[in-house]
Subunit: 335 residues, 4 copies
């Protein structure tokens, strides 16, 4: 961390700052120029609150030169993390394809789709029981019943299951869920993240609607700092002014994250684009860019889906998409 001092700064205040830093085992190197004095802070500066220093009246600016995260940082953990989801390894070289409906609607629906996507090559089953909807008048999910139906689909197909938790109070229903999803709108629900850090289950952490990659990693750090190191990141598009797609899929996040962190990364082209006809090309592109997995919405009857039908593929479209993904995989970018 670098602290740029104001011209004619007070000597006593500077001495106080140095003492305070010393108390945190932070060393200081002074570099005095004609127009600026710069302090270089040396040591574990993740414990130093940059905003606090920036607020001092003798300080003009503070620049971080180290990342504010530790547990997710590839520098301190150079080897790729491999996360085990009920026997399926995420981040270990095998492309994981998570598929299923946006919302669980009925036993027939979820079991039928589960069988279809398994036959087409999916390795995990997704399905929403608790649905974050913009409108209170929209379908909110089957909730507890949804999870029970998802478990039936697992029994039938053997596919590990992924579903979203929206509130700490729901966690007691997630005992048999294999992979717990944190949705984009909850990426900075810090109380929920801390609670998920205390359970022993893999967490699928979606990127917030307008989150930077660093903020996203800080949310992963929240979970890991409480003890749960089984975190997988999921890129699902960010909000921009573009209206032709629901969000803007940020595929450059894949190589950026591969440098910054050892955690695996999955891409959700369904939510990112918002239109089923854009899912296949973006799934192929994400695979080529070296994603560790894909999450794709599939519905047996997208035209009558309770939510997000417009972005769901049919089982037939999904089977074709998987073929295209598998064709590109041997030539995908490696990290």
């Amino acid at each position: 961390m670098i602290v740029i001092l104001k011209k004619d700064h007070d000597a006593e205040q500077l001495a106080n700052l140095k003492d305070w830093l010393k108390g945190m085992n932070i060393g200081v190197h002074m570099s005095e120029g004609s127009s600026q004095t710069v302090m270089g802070l040396i040591g574990d500066t993740t414990v130093v609150d940059a905003d606090l220093i920036r607020a001092l009246s003798i300080v003009e600016d503070v620049k971080r030169v180290q990342e504010p995260y530790k547990k997710v940082n590839r520098k301190f953990h150079p080897v790729n993390s491999i996360i085990d989801v009920d026997g399926e390894e995420v981040g270990g070289g095998k492309m994981q394809i998570i598929a299923g409906p946006c919302s669980i609607e009925s036993e027939e629906q979820i079991c039928g789709i589960a069988q279809s996507v398994k036959a087409a090559g999916a390795t995990m089953l997704r399905g929403g029981a608790f649905k974050p909807r913009t409108s209170p008048y929209a379908f909110q999910g089957l909730r507890k019943e949804g999870i029970e139906l998802l478990l039936q689909a697992k029994k039938l197909t053997g596919l590990p299951i992924v579903t979203e938790v929206m509130d700490i109070s729901q966690l007691e229903m997630f005992g048999d869920v294999d992979f717990v999803q944190v949705g984009a709108r909850n990426m900075q629900n810090f109380e929920l993240l801390k609670e998920l850090g205390r359970i022993k289950k893999p967490i699928l952490l979606k990127r917030g609607l307008s989150s930077t990659i660093e903020e996203w990693l800080m949310s992963a750090e929240y979970i890991m700092s409480e003890g749960n190191e089984e975190v997988v990141l999921c890129e699902r598009g960010i909000r921009t002014f573009e209206t032709a797609t629901r969000n803007t899929l940020d595929l450059a996040a894949i190589p950026v994250l591969k440098e910054m962190t050892h955690l695996p990364i999955i891409v959700d082209p369904s939510h990112a684009t918002g239109y089923s006809r854009l899912v296949a090309p973006m799934a192929v592109a994400a695979a080529a860019a070296g994603a560790d997995g894909l999450m794709i919405e599939v519905h047996n009857d997208p035209q009558r889906a309770f939510s997000d039908g417009i972005q769901s593929q049919t089982p037939e479209q999904f089977a074709q998409t998987v073929e295209k993904i598998e064709a590109v995989l041997p030539h995908a970018y490696k990290y």
Copy 2:
């Protein structure tokens, strides 16, 4: 709602759609052109899921012509709502000035600041007990103890108190809190919103970091649809690519909201700009634009504040800001 049909659409599917709409008491007017057929949907279309219709293969696009919200809608409630916060009326013509520290740190701190801001003209006291921080290593708030200290400051000064809830499980500690704040990161924490809809306390709903005004109103609708109609909106800046300020304060949201809704609107120039030296001009501008209230961070020792010191005013600066606000008030825009 207007549904634009694809050319050469299937007649049977169209008949099915019409039947389904009829079942929801939605009337249909057909308008057939040479290149397009357009259906006008008539009735209470807030119950109709536009995405569901958009997913149909016979449909090219759906356009809303009515707002998707009811309870917050000024069309159905033309008179300004006035929200009573322990005797202080928000939205009734009196400028409410909420002031206090970002975080509650100690009895001396919160009580001292409370007395200072009251003397300077503040009408309510704010202070964070539960702090949403990007880093798990940053100060997370005094939590339960913080609320107790805030209550002591209320006893001392008589100022109604505002503080943020981050999770449903914390609500039991909010029994004596006058005004419950939902932070920007929780604006779409729908489970929390529904729970707040079931309590009998005024809610201060901050705009999400990248939320549209319509989404923000839908979140207010979540609270109101559960029965609690005491909602106040708080504009606190949105995320843009600009880096000179922490966020971009959207003051045009004031006149826009005054048309769309009957709920009062408060502006937070401290979080919106992120720098204490920008707070006064933006507070004056917000007052001039017709805001119903302001929320301003004040700290007795901003240089040693546990969080967000850089955006806090000193009590002296705050007193000057209040003077400037009061001078501009008689000439503020009226709605």
Copy 3:
């Protein structure tokens, strides 16, 4: 186009509007509901100014149901356009790889790079003679001399050349340039676009820094409406709040554009990401997503490049990138 009328609209004003539309050969279908009256406009509504109608006091809103562009529209030109650039076909199925330095610096530099990239598989040579730089104190390009050096590199290698024009007054120097680039900052320099519409050369139109896809197509329409139909689009990232990359590469623009227009699309992963180490994975992803070409910055000595060295690959890195692109091509998404 659909016009939603205000409740209790004035009958005479409505009659005037209908007459005015009739004068433009626009038919009108009225659809009267209980709460709204909706006019459906039928005919060639690209000539109708939606903003003009929206400004009428009897009108609540106007919604377009047809695209505002004609010449670029795939609906009126279903077959893919193939643009001939001095013998190289863009959009005809062959992946075009345009490579070269950000700025032309010297004869040795541009000729050396031209030979390297040709050997590695590049099909065209790029190089900036006129450089749009944020700072007036940064290197502004060799200008006329730069174009002459680029022509020498063409003579040496036979590669068609691409270079950017920044102002109408420079066009007289572009007589021997094969492919004229319009930079992101000039995407809405409408006078320049019109002038380019009057020449007989292929134009490479980069997307503006914060342009929507529709605005980008409207800029292509500017060129085509003046008579020059040889337009190629170039996606180069859009501005978002993310700071880990220079811009956010919007690869979903590829499938979206393939639906909306018949024009070919090229992707520039160098400017989009801003870092040479991110170029290869994004080039591979763009190829997999079905781009018609790629534009990649290559410099023989990126550490001493006059501009944008940080995003340039070395000739060795470029050769490896081309290999990866070619490996993925047989499995790329087809439209």
Copy 4:
């Protein structure tokens, strides 16, 4: 400027870098820590290309601690600049109110509006002769004839006139124009900026649609670095994801700019909001925030305006807006 070196950097390359900096009269202070070595660059670093240094393989990152602009910088020019526009002083304490139609349409129109706005208190007349329109099929302005009509309106009323130039080739028609506007889409048309730097007329530089404040100042620096120091900045809203307004008006830009630069700042609430009914509250807010001037669209018949009628006020609305502005002025924030 601070250069953070990579661990285990090559000593010879470092020596080369130091020599190169010495050649530009830049001093270097080294600060060696356990995990990082930091170089502090001392002297006039505006001449140093940060990107060039960042590209070096021994460099991890570069951080600016000085602004990259000089002529616009308040640090080197602490006194407010006052720009004379045919006798009207901008930035000298008097609120300048520029009003007029978006487009000049006829002699009757521009002369009529000129008389109305003068009577209501406008101090300058605006009117577009060259119109940047997204669609090539929309009205492009009366061009040369428009400027002649504007000059007639000046003769009639004595109001100084402001109009936009879109291309260098048009400048010869601007001999009698008092205040030359650069539109948002041309803010980074660097060739045009340089040419405007060589004329002797005040320039009104609008902020680009998605420009940061620093980029905007760099564009002003372009004009000033060529010799023309008569620059006024105009905030007109930036592009965000919000759709309720045309752009998001960034009023915090006023206090930010007042710190960074000595140039005057004008606010355009008409383009920023896009709706005439939002103009008055935002004009009042901008005045209260301390803007040096306002630019407001006024049309005698907004319902039949050739462009942007929806955001134009009638002369009556404008007169009321001016009254509100004048009432708030004595209480506006001062810098």
